[in-house]
Symmetry: D2
Subunit: 339 residues, 4 copies
């Protein structure tokens, strides 16, 4: 069987590199183009010595040219940059956009959170939000273009989704590893301090909020979202206190188990056991726990690897579905790196 | 002026060692006895090479004998062990107990949370709970014996206390460094995993809960408390979502500022700025932030060094007050170790 | 093509778990038995939640019974325990022993370093030392039983081997991650201290020394070996100062490049570039650098993941060779986890 | 007794901040000026929230003006910048320069290693190299201006000094924490990678080399120096393999003990015990060990906190000596932060 030819536009960031790591381990895939506007035909190992064994070049091939020679194109570009590239490629090749540019379906909310107008507001409706566990497999399978979820929002959505439409309010603390800040050094990722620090930022102002509220069918007024930086490289650890409009007798873990039936990467903890971040590192798994707290509150916790399930891994799940492959291909056999 | 003669009963744990670190930097103090039942007259540097420069011995002097030769005795014993020692010394010497044994004033609640009966229930009322910022300086100054607060509960109390009596409910996530688990290795502090892990434990079952609810004047049914282990050595980082019975117009940071007027170790962040764990390491400071969240919720965050403000530092604040010294002596000049 | 049936005897340690991680990603392998004497028919996810998605049981099947139903057996047992198991299985099934018990070919040296006599001294000659990069592929391919190298010694050997027979003396500092200490908590892996510590141990007394000197064709008197613990989970970072008997004009990196021609997991750094531990994490690669230092000294550095190339990965290289598969099968596509 | 008035020129870097931390705990000192050219009269807590409790301003007071109002001035400026400031203040106030500009006594070597000519070559002879443990107390006590040693070189010197004049050659690996790279974020201190990385840099080209060889009375050709970055915030851990011209029967630890008699911050480990980095964090202590290795080699190891003994702490030792105070004032009571 001929392999799926895959290109990554914007290979130089952590998301692009993680896509490559996963694609190299995928049995049905071959690499077509790895592109970056900053580099002209450079062996990847020259820039990234951890890949020195590969005979693969980074080129400045244009997205359009790469698309013509590919079955699927992953965009790992910064948001704002991705807007026009998606518009230019949509419908011409299977497309998976890992930027934030097509995650929202409302151009006004986009402008509110990202501070710039959206150049292609009508396209927002056509690009499918690619979180199979919440939107279902059918829309992803049928999609021409996919908007891959944001890492914070993805995990938060998975905590809220089982109770969608019934949530009165939710308070979430989500702690992220430093790789979530990307490849460019900055004050927040300066090792001497980050190494033993925790600090929140953008409380109730984070750009992932509109994605989260959609999954819970709530408004921004029903949510407090506290993004927090933690002293580790990979992963997000989130705790949600969820208050329902309607209390119910069924344990929340059962409700969640029913909601995620058929989702092979969601592992719901046996009752009373807590999720642990180290159990998912390097893998596409998300571990979730749900228990009844005091005062009818549900205490929900979740962990994932922000670069895998929070980005590149879900993107490959989406690719698998778009090509009629089992959702788990190339992903299920990649066990967490433990310890 | 003659110095205060101080003994530490149970020097070998992290709390005992941290007391010693602070006392050695205290200008008004001299060490009388450092005791441990496991060691007979051993130079402290033999057991703890980081103190190899000291000419100080660890002895198995009895608490009673140490007390006779001291102005104040710190007990850094495990709970249950401390019960009878406090009873034996109470009234004979100024006493500061860092165990959990006299933190609660109700023997039934003690038995419920600690699993054993309390041998000296009437003494529970006489030992003063030593958190000057919430109970005030007068009771501490007048006390014969002090029960020093638990680290998780201390920080949680400081988040709730400004709103005491007005709290409808509170949901708290508190992330602790590994030194909170003490000096004995265990699965939860095994470096290969702890190094990049986060995991909650004893959700809504932690022994510090009865202390917390007292400071907020709430019941256990109004609180969800999620203790969580983090991949760092020192510190607690806590986030509380607080719902008040009565909304008010005044910004919560102002309410807190008023509540902590005259508390030199409480630093309330300027509005909108987030606390950072690395800003308090090694010092007796607690940084707190309070902001209005969605849906009338207050989002409160706090950080402290669990071994200093969360244990030995507050104990020395208490000592200072008991001896009529400025509360800040020997503590204010110990700046955070940054970075 | 039918798959190779593989059993792991002693699945519960880090080495056993890492073998399983790699074998699950190997396209030509299926798991036969995962055994532990401590557990009777337990789902692996019950003990190891990071593997909760697997439908695989840990059983107390005997090594002999597992061997009868397997094409190859990996022993991940403690040394001393492995001695008799190897003797009992040798010749009956392809066998790869990851313990230290058959790494030396001299029973006296074994007794000197391990403190107990060897029960099967003649077997020491029959079990092949499985480091393909130094012993060559032929002996491994032909072997019935393999002794897999120790992690410290493996990396040190790779630094010395290009200069074998010509070394006057070597001084090595090798820093290891905490996973090298295994799964049982101890003082040396207690997170509060290990988190920001470095400390050497067993200087010139480490059990890997006799393996190292064999690869360099030197005596213990020509080697100083300083094993050191570092504050990270995975990896070894080693620096060797190598003095040759005969200086030569050729740059040492060229000599090494020639020595490792045909070794796909050895990546020799371009001249002047330094190896970095983070470039190999989770993968089977070893990065090496060699440069001429002052006073005719060669400065050689190397990095590997102690659980992969330092243990389970090399074991699977050996397995591949024993079954006539390409040495790289199931390993080359597992890129380093970066960052 | 009136206090010593102290100014810090260049307060905003890690060295300046660490000086301030130590000076605030020094009983004989009061702060005169904290200056930075980048900030005009800013409360220090506004820039550095970990110091929010202080009522101290950062100003852009000129060095000359600060000097007129101070008993001693610490320069915590980048090298090259410090050159002229030292020249302008020398002889007018007691001066302690923590930059690299006056550490060498030879302008040619300075230019070779720092890449720029030295504007004040004759002054190089007048500024005293301030490492009391090797140069003795007398020259420091008598000095007008002090050049404070570099962190890597300081520890390396302490390893070589006991054998000064007798060293045939030395090979050193020194691993530093990330705070050594200073306060500006860069690729080498980007947390996602640094967090679990080790990597050498400037092998045999580091600027601290000329300081090191002076202490050992060797040439650059007799030294290999491998500076290495480690995944921790504070500290240097160094291992030196030292070959003497003349072997001797006396254990090297005894030789070192004699050499450091009267040096209160040098702690020489009991024979056979290894130094541990975590034993000195936050303090001015240096722990050293010396043992006889194979082939007449001495294996010497040392640890220090790069910001304290490696910079600000030694600077305050020098200040104490310049003012006739006990060398240990304000330093000895600052115990290591353990754990």
């Amino acid at each position: 069987m001929s392999k799926i030819r895959v290109s990554i536009i914007g290979i130089t960031g952590y998301t692009g590199l993680e896509l490559l790591r996963l694609l190299l381990a995928h049995p049905a895939v071959e690499i077509a183009h790895l592109t970056s506007r900053q580099h002209e035909n450079t062996q990847i190992g020259t820039l990234y010595p951890h890949l020195a064994h590969l005979d693969l070049a980074i080129t400045n091939t244009s997205p359009e040219e790469a698309a013509r020679d590919s079955d699927v194109v992953f965009l790992a570009l910064p948001h704002k940059t991705a807007q026009d590239v998606v518009a230019s490629l949509h419908g011409k090749v299977k497309l998976i956009d890992l930027s934030a540019d097509y995650r929202l379906d409302d151009a006004e909310i986009y402008e509110k959170y990202y501070g710039i107008p959206h150049n292609h507001p009508t396209l927002l409706q056509e690009v499918v939000y690619g979180l199979p566990e919440t939107v279902g497999r059918a829309p992803v399978t049928a999609a021409q273009s996919i908007a891959n979820p944001g890492c914070f929002s993805l995990l938060s959505q998975l905590l809220l989704f089982p109770f969608k439409g019934r949530i009165k309010r939710a308070n979430i603390v989500a702690v992220t590893g430093s790789s979530g800040a990307g490849k460019s050094p900055g004050e927040g990722t300066h090792h001497p301090v980050r190494n033993h620090n925790m600090k929140s930022y953008n409380i109730n102002g984070h750009r992932h909020i509109p994605e989260i509220i959609r999954a819970g069918d709530i408004t921004a007024e029903q949510l407090n979202f506290v993004p927090t930086s933690g002293p580790f490289t990979r992963g997000i650890f989130a705790t949600a206190f969820i208050e329902l409009k309607d209390a119910e007798a069924r344990p929340p873990a059962e409700t969640a188990r029913a909601a995620y039936k058929g989702s092979p990467f969601i592992r719901i903890m046996p009752n009373g056991e807590a999720v642990a971040l180290a159990n998912v590192t390097g893998s596409n798994f998300t571990d979730l726990s749900f228990q009844s707290g005091a005062d009818t509150m549900i205490i929900a916790q979740g962990v994932l690897d922000n670069l895998v399930k929070g980005a590149a891994g879900t993107a490959i799940q989406n690719m698998n579905l778009m090509f009629g492959l089992p959702e788990t291909d190339g992903l299920l056999n990649l066990s967490p790196l433990y310890p």
